[in-house]
Symmetry: C3
Subunit: 484 residues, 3 copies
C-alpha cells in the first residue's frame, strides 16, 4: 500500500509539473529587475523633484511667524494625520485582507497588494506632484501629509483593478498595471479636479469608477476561456472567509476617514464623516436582506457580506462633502447595497459568460456600479444646492466657487460633475484596453489556466507535514494505513 | 468500503436533516422583511428628525464668526474623531472577532455582530436624539461626531447581550433584541445621566451592567435544557482562538479611547486614558495568574486570556474621569481581573447548572461583575472627592456641579451614582424578561438545540472539497482507501 | 486495527509524556507568584511615586490660565494621542501577531507578548520616570500621554528580545527578561538621551539595537544544541503565515506614528512621518526583489515579506526628525531591505551553526542590522546638518542645541550620535549576558528541546475532535477505518 501511495503521489506530482510547465512562470529575473530598476528610478526622480513642504520643513517656525500662525496645531498634520492613518490601514489591511478570501491565494492576495501599493505610492507622489503641486519657481514638488493621503488614494484605484485580476496575473504584470494605472489616474484626476473643477473628495468617480473600469477592461483583454480548469481553487474555505472579514471591516469602519481625509477643514470633514457613516450602515441592512432573500432557506452568502456592505461608502464618495442630509445618505446606502448584491447574484455570472469578463472579486459590483451611482448622486446634489441651504459663504466654500470659477452656478457645476463621470469611465476603458494589450504579451510570467488562484506558483508554500499531523491522530491516516 | 461509507454518510445526512427539520430555521422571508422595513423606517424618521449640527453644517463658518471661534480646530470633530474611530473599531472588529472563537460559528459571530450594530447605530441616533438632543424650537435632532460615538456606545450594550445568546438565536431575534435594547438603553441612559445626573463616561453602569443583565435575562428566558446536544460545537479550534485574540487585543488597546471618547476636553480625556491604560495592564497580570493557578501544570486557558484581561477597562468605565489616582486604577484592574477569571472558573458552570442561565461568551464575568465593580468604584470615588484634590474649579468641571445641581455635594453625588447602578441593573433585568418573552415566540426561526453554534443554519458554508485536499495527500484518504 | 491504533496512540502518548517529563514545565506556582507579587509591587510603587501631570490633572484649568494657554487643544494629549494609539497597536497586535507565524506556537506568540507588554509598560513608567521625570520638589513622577508612549517604546525593546527566544522559554523567564530589560533600557536611554544628548526619536539605537543584542545574547547563553528535536514545529502552516501578515502590516502602516510619536510638535512630527513612510515603501520593493532572486523559480518567501519589509522603519528611527530629504529616506529603505533579506538568507543559518545563536524570528536581520544602520545614518545626517538647510532656528530646535549643549556643533553631535550607538550595543551585549545567565538557572520551567515551539506545554490547546470532523467526511477516516 505504501508503495502504491508513493507511486500515485509521484504520478500526481508528475502530472501537475507537466501542466505547470505549459507556461513559464519563472519570475526570478523579471520581478527583481522590475523592483530594483523602478525603485532606483524613484530615488533619482525623488532626488530631482521631491522636497518637504513648508509645514514639514524645519523652516516651519519661520513660516509660522511670517504667516502669523498662533500654534503648531495649525500645521495641516494635526488636521489630517488621524485620517491619513485610517486610509493607510484601508489600503494595506483593508484591500489586502479582503483579497485573502480564496482558499489558496491568501499569500498572493495580501502580499502582492502590499508590493504594488508600496511601489504605487512612490510613483503617485511624483505623478500627482507634477500635475498638481509643481512649484513653478524651482520646479520642485513640495510634499506634506495631504500628498501622502492622495498617494494612498491613487494607489487604491490600482488595487481595485487588481481585484478583477486576482489570481490570474503575475506580480510583474501587477507592477506594470500599477505603473500605468497611477499615470492614467494622475491625468484623469487633473482633468476632473483642475480642468473641470469637479468635486470628488472620496473619489467615487476618480478612484472607484476609473479603477473598476480599468481593471475590468484589463480582465476582458486577458480573458481566459479555460479558466474553469482551476475552478476547484476559485472558492473559499471557512477560515479564509474569516480573514477576508478583517479586510471588509477595516474598510467599512475607516471609510468615513477615506471620504473626509482631504475634505475642507472644519465642517467639511465633519459632514463627510457623518454622511459616510450613515450610508455604510444603510447598505449593510439591504445587503443582508438581498443576500438572504436570494438563497435557499434564506442562508447568507459571505461574498455578499464581505463586499456589498461597502457599497454605501463608494457611492458616498462624491457627495460626502455636500449637504446631502443624513436621510439622503441613508437612501444612497440603501440603493447601493441592493444594486451591489444583485450584481453579485446576476451580473457577475452574466459578464463572465456573455461579455467574457472574468471579475474575481466582483469589482463591478463593489466599485463600478456604486461609483457610477456616487457620480450621479454627486451631480444631482451639486445641481440642487442652494444658498438657502448652504448659506452664501458655505456654498462658495463647499464648491470652491472662486478665482476662475467664481461665477459658476450650481446647475453648471452639476453638469461638470456629470462630465467628470464620463471622463473617469473613458479613462478606465481606454487605459484598460491599452494596458491590457501590453499585459497580454507572453513575457510576464503569468500562470497557466490550471494554475490560477494558486499561491504555489509564486510563493514558497509551507507543506502540512506528517510530523505535525501525527500529533492529531484524527486527521492523520498515514501511520495507520501501513498497518492494514 | 466506499459503498458503506456512502450509506453511512447518507444515514448521517438523513439523521441530521431530520433533526434540523424539528425547527423551521428558514429566515428567507423574515430577515429580509425586517431589514427592509426597518431600514425604510429609519430613512423616514431621519428625514423627519435628523439634521447636521452647527459644527457639521455649512453654516459653521458663520457660527464661528458669531461665537468668535478662532480656528477650525475648535470644531469638536478634532477633539473626538480619533477616539471615535477607535470606538468604532471596538464595536465592529473588537466585539465581532471576540465572538469568532467558536469552531463553527465564526461567520455568525462576526457577521451578525456587523448586522445588528449597523442597524443599532441608526436607531440609537434617533432614540438618544429624542431623549438628549431634541431641539425644542424646531423639533429636530442635530447630530455631530459626539452623537456618532454615543450611538456606538449604545450599540455596545446590545452586542454584550448578544454575547450571552451567541449561537442560540436567529439573526431576526438579534434584530429584535437590538431594537428593544437600544430603546431601553436610551431611557435608562436618560434617567441615569440626566435625571440622576450621575457620571458614567465609559459606561460601566449604563453600557456594561445594563447590557450584561439584559442579555443574561434573555438567555435565562430562552433556556435550552437540551443544549448539550450541540456540545461538540461549543468549543474552539486552534485558529478560531487566534481569530478571537484579534478581537481581544483591539478591545484592549482601544479601551482608553472608549472611556475617554466623550469625557471633558483637556484634562478629562487625558486622565481617562491614563486610568484606563493602567487598569487594563493590571488586569492582564491577575488574569494570567488566576488562569495558571487554576489548571493542571499551570497551563493557561485561552478563554480567560481572551476575556478577563479586559475586565479592567469595564471596571474603569465610571471613574475614569475622576482623580482616582494611577495606583487606584491599578487596584481596580487588579481586582476585576481576579473576579472575572474566577467567574469563568466557577460562576459560569454554576449559573448554567443551577440558575439555568446559559452564557455563551461569559458576559457575566466580563461585563456584569466588572460593570458593577465599576459602578461601586465610581460611587466611592465620587463620594470621596474633595476640593483639596480636584481644586475648586476642577471639582465643578469634573462633576458638572452647575445649574440644577450647582449645590450638590460629593456625598450626595456618590449616592446618586449608587442609585444609577441599581437603575442599570433593573432595566437589564426587567427589559431582558420582557424581550426574552417576545423572543420565545416560535416565529423567529431560531435553531434547534442540536443545531446551535453551527453556521450551517444561517450561512452558505464552503465545503472543504476533495480537489483542494488532493494537493495535500497527508490530509486526504479518499483516494487511497479505495486502493486497499 | 482499532486495537492497534489504540496501542500506537498510547505508545506515542507515552513516548511524548516521557520526553516532556525530562524537564519540569509546571509553572502553576511560579507564574502566578511572579504575576501577583510584581503587580502588587507595581501598585505600591505607583502609590508612592506616580501622579497625574499638570495636563491630566483637574488643575489643568488653573494651569491653563496661569500659562495663558488659549485652548484645551494645546493640551499635549491632542498632539500625541493618535500617534500613541498607533504605537499601542504596534506593541500588542503588531509584535503579537508577527509572532504567530509558527504552526503550533501562535497562542504563545500573541499571548506571552500580551503578558510581558502589560507588565513592562507599568515597570517602564516607573523606571523611565525615575530617570527622566522625577520632580525634585516632591519626588513624584508626573505622567501624561508622552510617558505612556515612552513606556510602550521601552517595552518594544523587550518584545524584540522575545523574538529571538520565541518558543524556547517559559513565560516566567519572559517576565524576568522584561523586568531586567526595562531596567537596562531606562539606564541606557538616560545615558544616550540625557548624558550624551543624542537624538533618537524612533529608537533605532535605544530600542532596536539594544533590544536585538539583548535578545541575541540571551539566546546565545541559552543555546540548545538539540533544538532540532523540535524541528517539525519550527515552520509555519498556511494560515499561520496569514495571521503573521496582520502583525507585519500593522507594524508597517503605523511605523510613521512610531517614529514621530515623540518628535517635536509641528514640523518635527510631520517630517518624521514622511521620512518613515518613504523608507518603508522602499524596503518593500528591495525585499521582494532579493526574496525572489534567491529562490528557485523566483518564488517569494513569506519569512522575508513578513519581516524585511519593516527594515526601512527601523533604519529610519534616528534620522526621521532630521532633514534627511525624501530621496535620502528612500535610499535608507532601499539598503536596509536588502541587508535584512540577505540576513535571513545567509546570516541566520550561519549564526545558528557557527556562532551558536538561535534566533527564532530573525531579529538580527530585522532589528539589529537595520538598527545599526539607523544609528550610523543618524550620526552622518546630524554631522552634515547645516544652517543653510535647517535655518538657524530650525537647527537649534531640531537638535535642541540649548542650555548645556547650546554651543555644540553638528560635527560633535555626529560624534555623540555614534557614541550612543556603541552604548546601545554594549548594554545589549552585557545586559543580555547577565540576564541570560540568570535565565539559565534550572528553576524557570522552560521546555525540553523536543517540546520547544509547542503551545501544548503552557496552554490548554483545543483538540480537533471527531464530532467536528464527522461533518467533513473528506478529512476524517476514523469512522471508515473500522469498517475495513
Amino acid at each position: 500500500i505504501m508503495n502504491f501511495l508513493g507511486i500515485s503521489l509521484n504520478f500526481s506530482l508528475g502530472k501537475s509539473s507537466r501542466l505547470k510547465m505549459a507556461k513559464n512562470t519563472n519570475i526570478r529575473i523579471s520581478l527583481p529587475a522590475v523592483c530594483f530598476v523602478w525603485q532606483i528610478a524613484m530615488i533619482i526622480l525623488f532626488g530631482v523633484f521631491i522636497r518637504y513642504d513648508e509645514e514639514s520643513d524645519t523652516h516651519w517656525i519661520e513660516h509660522r511667524r511670517k504667516k502669523n500662525i498662533s500654534t503648531n496645531l495649525e500645521n495641516d498634520f494635526y488636521y489630517r494625520y488621524p485620517s491619513f492613518q485610517d486610509v493607510h490601514v484601508m489600503i494595506f489591511v483593508g484591500f489586502g485582507f479582503l483579497m485573502t478570501f480564496l482558499k489558496r491565494y491568501s499569500f498572493g492576495g495580501v502580499g502582492f497588494n502590499f508590493l504594488i501599493a508600496a511601489f504605487g505610492i512612490q510613483w503617485a507622489l511624483l505623478m500627482q506632484g507634477w500635475f498638481h503641486h509643481l512649484d513653478e519657481h524651482d520646479w520642485k514638488i513640495k510634499i506634506g501629509v495631504e500628498n501622502l493621503i492622495n498617494a494612498d488614494f491613487c494607489v487604491a484605484s490600482c488595487l481595485i483593478a487588481y481585484g478583477a485580476c486576482l489570481g490570474k496575473v503575475s506580480p510583474v504584470q501587477l507592477m506594470v498595471l500599477t505603473l500605468f494605472g497611477v499615470t492614467l489616474f494622475a491625468v484623469e484626476e487633473y482633468i476632473i479636479l483642475e480642468l473641470l473643477h469637479a468635486k470628488d473628495a472620496g473619489g467615487s468617480m476618480v478612484i472607484h469608477t476609473f479603477g473598476a473600469y480599468y481593471g475590468l477592461t484589463i480582465s476582458w483583454v486577458l480573458y481566459r476561456p479555460l479558466l474553469s480548469q482551476s475552478k476547484h481553487l476559485q472558492g473559499s474555505v471557512y477560515h479564509s472567509d474569516v480573514f477576508a472579514m478583517i479586510g471588509t471591516l477595516f474598510l467599512w469602519m475607516y471609510w468615513p476617514s477615506f471620504n473626509s481625509a482631504i475634505a475642507d477643514h472644519g465642517d467639511g470633514q465633519h459632514r463627510a464623516v457623518i454622511n459616510t457613516y450613515l450610508a455604510l450602515a444603510s447598505s449593510v441592512l439591504t445587503t443582508f436582506a438581498i443576500s438572504s432573500i436570494s438563497q435557499n432557506n434564506g442562508k447568507l452568502d459571505m461574498v455578499h457580506i464581505q463586499n456589498a456592505t461597502l457599497a454605501g461608502g463608494v457611492a458616498m464618495g462624491t457627495a460626502s462633502e455636500f449637504m446631502i442630509t443624513p436621510y439622503g445618505s441613508l437612501i444612497v446606502g440603501f440603493c447601493s447595497g441592493i444594486v451591489s448584491t444583485f450584481g453579485y447574484l446576476f451580473l457577475t455570472p452574466f459578464m463572465e459568460k456573455t461579455l467574457k469578463i472574468q471579475d474575481t472579486c466582483g469589482i463591478h459590483n463593489l466599485h463600478a456600479m456604486p461609483g457610477v451611482i456616487g457620480g450621479i448622486v454627486g451631480a444631482i446634489t451639486a445641481a440642487s444646492a442652494s444658498e438657502s441651504v448652504y448659506g452664501q459663504e458655505g456654498l462658495i466654500n463647499t464648491f470652491d466657487f472662486k478665482d476662475a470659477v467664481a461665477n459658476r452656478t450650481v446647475n453648471i457645476q452639476g453638469g461638470y460633475q456629470a462630465a467628470a463621470l464620463f471622463v473617469a469611465i473613458a479613462f478606465g476603458l481606454v487605459g484598460g484596453a491599452l494596458v491590457g494589450g501590453i499585459l497580454k504579451l507572453p513575457i510576464w510570467g503569468d500562470p497557466a489556466d490550471v494554475n490560477c488562484f494558486d499561491d504555489d506558483v509564486y510563493w514558497e508554500v509551507p507543506e502540512e507535514d506528517e510530523n505535525f499531523l501525527s500529533r492529531h491522530p484524527n486527521m492523520n491516516h498515514a501511520t495507520s494505513i501501513p498497518d492494514v
